[in-house]
């Protein structure tokens, strides 16, 4: 069984974001990481591959990005992915990214394509669903557990106030979230050494339009300073919430 992980390259969560002319991200000093949800997906894929109880034998990571994304891809190889494909294109919008990914995926025979539910940069929550629709494959979203026994895939799908236990035939796209793996795996020294020689294939993008255009970025208005209330005067806090904020 072959698993593909669509891997995003995003600024580290603690990055203080700045923009150049309010039109593009200022990349100066930004540390790049594997998108947190994709990292959990990769961790789960590695667990499945290591478990001899199933037939997972290949984990491939696929990224749309310029050469600058290669350190992040190498990190994924160091964590344990077998090989990587980089589609040599600067992502413009989510539709464009999904078209590029689908174009590569359709040339391979993956059984499960896993995407994180969203990216921590543009928070589009759309790549997985789009890839599935482009390829005409079924998709299951909000997946918080994925197990394989024999040829049967079993997943937890989060719903409002609970979960469903679902199953589906391969090939399909799993769009995964928190719970899919406990802690993201950290690359060991041996993995980092091995990652240097693992295949990282670069393919050129297909020409494709964008459906959206980011015309500008603004930082949120700084919040008015916090009104401090003395811990001995909870009646005042209640009064503020009732009469000023009007939320009680």
């Amino acid at each position: 069984m072959k698993i593909a992980i669509c891997l995003g390259n995003v600024p580290d969560t603690t990055t203080k974001v700045k923009f150049i002319n309010e039109t593009e991200l200022d990349k100066t000093g930004v540390q790049w990481i594997i998108n947190p949800w994709d990292e959990l997906a990769l961790t789960r894929a590695m667990e499945l591959k290591e478990d001899t109880g199933n037939s997972v034998n290949l984990v491939t990571v696929i990224t749309v990005g310029t050469k600058e994304t290669e350190p992040t891809i190498r990190k994924a190889l160091a964590i344990g992915a077998d090989d990587a494909i980089r589609i040599n294109s600067e992502p413009t919008d989510v539709y464009n990214v999904a078209i590029q990914l689908a174009e590569v995926i359709k040339t391979k025979d993956f059984d499960i394509i896993i995407c994180g539910i969203e990216s921590s940069d543009f928070n589009g929550a759309a790549v997985g669903g789009m890839v599935a629709e482009i390829l005409g494959l079924p998709s299951v979203s909000s997946v918080s557990r994925l197990s394989i026994s024999g040829s049967e895939i079993e997943m937890d799908r989060e719903i409002d106030g609970g979960k469903e236990i679902v199953t589906i035939k391969t090939p399909f796209v799993a769009i995964v979230q928190k719970g899919i793996a406990k802690e993201p795996r950290i690359a060991a020294m041996r993995g980092i050494m091995m990652a240097r020689t693992k295949p990282l294939v670069v393919v050129e993008p297909v020409s494709c339009e964008s459906l959206t255009e980011y015309s500008g970025f603004v930082l949120p208005q700084p919040k008015a300073s916090c009104k401090m209330v003395d811990p001995g005067n909870m009646a005042e806090l209640v009064s503020l919430l009732q009469n000023e904020a009007k939320v009680l």
Binding site: T13, S141, Q177
Partner: protein
């Protein structure tokens, strides 16, 4: 032309979120001088469907069938896409929740329609069609132009006020052709009787400052008193003090209640990414320099274990007046 809304139902019922979507659509329809149509999938009684008119729907396309009780992304996408064509929709609106996130991207490809996801406000302009959306997990806002003829928006829960209209919706039975169900549901596990975190208008949340799971009594008491849901920070759910379903933060639940009460939570950036859309934040923490106070509207420097009982007492006193 029309603005089309997909209103999910929960065991045949709509909830406030459904009416938020219709209210939002109704406002956009006014901007574009057109009407709101709704697509409802699954068995919903007529009285329930009629409620949608009260928030501005002119027409409801009603797709009935017990098979639609669970979601199959392809089947639902086909239905909504056919409804969009049937209604000549220029805008399709879904919730930015589990099902909306599953369907909107597929619809975007199917209808070749640009997707603006996680929207919390009205579009900033109709021509070119431009929306504001949160990016970098809430650290910035982006202006996004949706360039296609049809546009798809997913609306964040509790971000738009209900607006009542005096309108009676016509209900039309709609029976589009669909493919077979590929997602097989083997079992459903639901929590009952509690206020769901995403639906709650008030949320009381605890962090590591609560020191141990035995100390959650006052949080639950306060939540009960206010009709609130309970939540927690990531370390608390990782430690198993509270269930994972309560984890709010970047990788947990992202919520936007009217009031978020953070007790014993320092306010790491990952936590704030999940709660910063709350309309008001109250922070109770021993460390006056904790980042939570930068995000909060009202702050109390003190031990949550000591402050909470006093807070509860003060609320009871205010309520009895």
């Amino acid at each position: 032309m029309s603005v089309l809304v997909y209103t999910e139902n929960w065991d045949g019922k709509f909830k406030k979120l459904s009416f938020e979507l219709v209210s939002y659509a109704s406002k956009i329809a006014e901007m574009l001088a057109t009407n709101v149509s709704v697509v409802s999938i699954g068995d919903v009684e007529e009285g329930e469907l009629q409620k949608l008119g009260k928030y501005g729907a002119s027409k409801v396309l009603n797709i009935v069938g017990s098979q639609f009780r669970s979601l199959d992304n392809q089947v639902f996408t086909e239905i909504i896409a056919q409804a969009a064509v049937h209604e000549d929709a220029s805008i399709v609106i879904l919730a930015h929740n589990n099902s909306g996130k599953a369907l909107a991207p597929r619809l975007s490809v199917r209808l070749k329609a640009a997707l603006g996801s996680g929207i919390s406000k009205l579009p900033v302009s109709a021509e070119p069609f431009t929306v504001n959306k949160k990016v970098f997990s809430g650290k910035a806002f982006a202006c996004v132009v949706l360039k296609t003829k049809i546009k798809i928006l997913t609306l964040t829960q509790n971000s738009f006020e209900l607006v009542e209209k005096v309108r009676v919706a016509t209900i039309e039975t709609f029976a589009p052709e669909t493919g077979e169900y590929k997602t097989i549901v083997k079992d459903v596990q639901k929590q009952t009787g509690e206020i769901l975190l995403n639906d709650a208008e008030i949320v009381v949340s605890g962090g590591r400052g609560m020191k141990s799971p035995e100390n959650w009594g006052p949080i639950e008491e306060l939540a009960g008193l206010l009709g609130a849901a309970t939540a927690c920070s990531r370390p608390v759910s990782d430690e198993g003090w509270r269930p994972h379903s309560e984890h709010t933060g970047q990788t947990g639940k992202i919520i936007a209640p009217n009031l978020y009460i953070a007790t014993g939570i320092s306010g790491a950036i990952q936590h704030l990414a999940g709660v910063s859309s709350s309309k008001y934040i109250v922070a109770i923490n021993t460390d006056k320099d904790a980042p939570i106070f930068e995000a909060a509207d009202y702050g109390v420097v003190g031990d949550a274990l000591k402050v909470l009982p006093d807070f509860i007492k003060a609320i009871k006193e205010a309520k009895s007046k």
